[in-house]
């Protein structure tokens, strides 16, 4: 790879547009990851250590453990939807713009 190409990658990496893109990706994906991991392990810890609480019946034979389990499904679908919305509204256009710019510079 030529020095020129190296320069394109490094200049792009240190450009404010790229910094902004990285921030809006990481600023969204990382906290969301921390959130779903915490929520999942809260559920696991409750089923392991708070048995008396999670076996409380809510509707008929459906207890809190079931409700929490199904809520894990719900939260997974919601997070998927949130990320898709963030990506299509914010990330995709910014990354496409940068991609076109980089590819033009690499071709020159």
């Amino acid at each position: 790879m030529s020095d020129k190409q190296h320069r394109v990658w490094e200049e792009t990496q240190s450009s404010p547009e790229f910094a902004q893109l990285r921030k809006s990706f990481r600023g969204f994906a990382f906290p969301l990851t921390a959130a779903f991991l915490s929520w999942y392990f809260l559920y696991i810890l409750l089923t392991a250590f708070a048995r008396d609480f999670v076996v409380t019946p809510v509707i008929g034979n459906i207890n809190i453990a079931f409700i929490l389990g199904v809520l894990q499904f719900v939260s997974t679908f919601v997070i998927m939807w949130l990320y898709e919305r963030h990506s299509s509204h914010v990330l995709d256009s910014a990354s496409d713009k940068l991609r076109d710019k980089v590819e033009k510079e690499l071709a020159n």
């Binding site: 994906a29 990851t33 034979n61 997070i79």
Partner: protein, 547 residues
């Protein structure tokens, strides 16, 4: 079980084999470049790939294993369903898109991007083969057991014949169809599995007038266990000593084991090589994201249905009848199907049993093909082309090696599966997840997101295989009633108290990645600039594909 359903089952399975072989041979004619073997041409749509991911991911362990675990142990089986689904968020938020943008064919592409090629590629290939072969072994031993249960074979030679047959079919799928052919097989299988599960779920729900509480109540009553609907029947048990007092230490270990399993389940998925290479079959990162969305939709729906399948089997078939046929409960879903069709000896029962049995075969066959493809791709592209040939192999040579590798891996899997007949190999799936979570995932994440990460860090994270090491000293291997080495042999070296090593080995993998990096002076910031810009923008992707 009588002749009726075995005949129908064999006919249906034969039909599946013929259709998939036809599709695979047709797909092989669409292959235009040698490298289509790896990525199927990279032009699948997000929807197609999403179904294929679901097909690759939902193994017989999910379909038969989870339904069986719920049927026998109640609530705790559902923990698997949840972990296997939530795991997809790691792949969605952190891995799928950057991986698609910065690699071409294998996990090693991303790991070795800014590293020394030889050590990192060798590590990536080793890990890919180890994870895939463990997983493969569990599926193939399961195939032998399943067929003998459904067909009523008792002769071990018949089981071995089934294993050899499954092995030969998967080798044909992979060598002839490559990624394109295998992807079509996954799509067909996903469609069959989803349809089969949906029909059974609806029938169970109709039986209970769509009253889930009533279904759970019936399952609890049939089990004769007052706590059947509560967590703690299988995992994180309260353990009492002989005098009936709670053993605080053993109980704590039992609960830590549950947490350890949970950790491996949700962090393992995004480190499974046969899943990672699926992201290369679509043209852009946007399509990779759409694939994961579709996969989550399908997989989520499927795992929700395991509630009806598992508790339905507990209520309508009953644990006693299930364990009479198979102690591990793997026949719960097929037996439920027979019941829903009208019961043993009825035409409807025979048809339903045959259909579900055939779907289970299709499931196993598709998953083993995906695993064989991942191993042979990595052996050819990482080990042969970039280590042995130093990057100077032509695509044609590479793919020729990949096909040979598929024969070798397939042959090895057949031999190991025959040798392992009769052993309880269910733990191998959890082990594959634990290795993927403790080696591959740290290496992939640190590669993508940590500027300083380097060759030694990557190699240390992957190679130590701490998950395997700990497992050898765990109760899975020795010192417990369920160990591989029988407890009455008197041989016991189980100083590691957990059956699931993840709780220790996953943080250890990340730590070794960090330590290796910090103790080596190698830094490649220039290449990281390229990796980071590529991974977030997709720049240079078209060029990377033509290469």
């Amino acid at each position: 079980m009588n002749l009726d359903h075995t005949t129908i089952s064999s006919a249906l399975f034969l039909l599946f084999v013929l259709v998939t072989l036809y599709v695979v041979f047709r797909a092989s004619r669409q292959n235009t470049k040698a490298t289509d073997f790896y990525n199927g041409g990279g032009n699948f749509s997000g929807f197609q790939n999403g179904l294929a991911i679901a097909g690759d991911y939902m193994s017989a362990a999910s379909f038969l294993g989870i339904a069986g675990t719920i049927a026998l142990f109640g609530y705790d089986g559902f923990l698997y369903s949840i972990g296997f689904l939530v795991a997809w968020l790691v792949a969605l938020l952190l891995v799928a898109e950057p991986l698609r943008n910065s690699g071409r064919f294998t996990m090693g592409d991303v790991l070795a991007f800014r590293m020394k090629q030889r050590p990192v590629r060798t590590a990536a290939a080793t890990s890919t083969v180890v994870v895939s072969v463990f997983y493969l072994l569990a599926q193939m031993v399961g195939a032998g057991a399943l067929v003998s249960l459904l067909m009523g074979f008792t002769d071990p030679a018949a089981k071995n014949l089934v294993i050899v047959g499954v092995g030969i079919l998967m080798i044909i799928y992979v060598t002839v169809g490559g990624m394109r052919g295998t992807t079509y097989v996954q799509i067909i299988k996903a469609f069959l599995l989803m349809s089969g599960a949906a029909v059974m779920t609806i029938m169970v729900l109709v039986h209970f007038q769509f009253d889930i509480s009533q279904m759970l109540g019936a399952a609890q009553q049939a089990s004769g266990n007052a706590n059947f609907l509560e967590p703690g029947q299988k995992f994180g048990k309260d353990i009492f000593d002989e005098a009936g007092n709670l053993d605080a230490v053993k109980t704590l270990f039992s609960k830590l084991d549950l947490i350890s399993l949970a950790l491996a389940l949700i962090l393992g998925t995004a480190g499974l090589p046969h899943i990672l290479i699926r992201f290369y079959t679509v043209p852009t990162s946007k399509d990779a994201r759409k694939s994961v969305n579709w996969a989550i939709g399908n997989i989520g729906a499927f795992y929700l249905m395991t509630i009806a399948l598992g508790f339905g089997a507990a209520a309508l078939v009953g644990a006693e009848a299930i364990t009479e046929k198979d102690k591990a409960g793997n026949v719960a879903a097929p037996m439920l199907a027979e019941y829903l069709g009208g019961g043993t000896g009825t035409v409807g029962g025979a048809v339903m049993l045959a259909v579900v049995g055939a779907i289970a075969f299709a499931t196993i066959l598709a998953v083993v093909a995906g695993l064989t493809l991942a191993s042979s791709s990595s052996l050819a592209h990482d080990l042969y082309a970039n280590v042995i040939k130093d990057g100077k192999a032509t695509p044609e040579e590479e793919v020729k090696v990949a096909r040979i590798a598929a024969f070798v891996i397939g042959g090895l899997a057949i031999a190991l599966a025959i040798a392992a007949q009769g052993l309880n190999v269910a733990f191998l799936v959890a082990l594959a997840f634990a290795i993927a979570a403790s080696g591959n995932l740290p290496a992939v994440l640190l590669s993508l997101f940590w500027k300083e990460f380097n060759t030694r860090g990557a190699v240390w994270a992957i190679y130590l295989f701490s998950a395997v090491g700990l497992l050898i000293f765990s109760p899975v291997v020795s010192g417990a009633a369920t160990s591989l080495i029988p407890i009455d042999s008197g041989i016991a070296f189980n100083w590691f108290p957990l059956a699931n090593p993840g709780l220790v080995s996953i943080p250890f993998g990340f730590f070794m990645g960090w330590l290796g990096t910090k103790t080596s002076n190698e830094r490649n910031y220039a290449k990281y600039a390229e990796l980071e810009v590529r991974s977030l923008t997709g720049a240079g992707i078209a060029k990377a594909v033509q290469h």
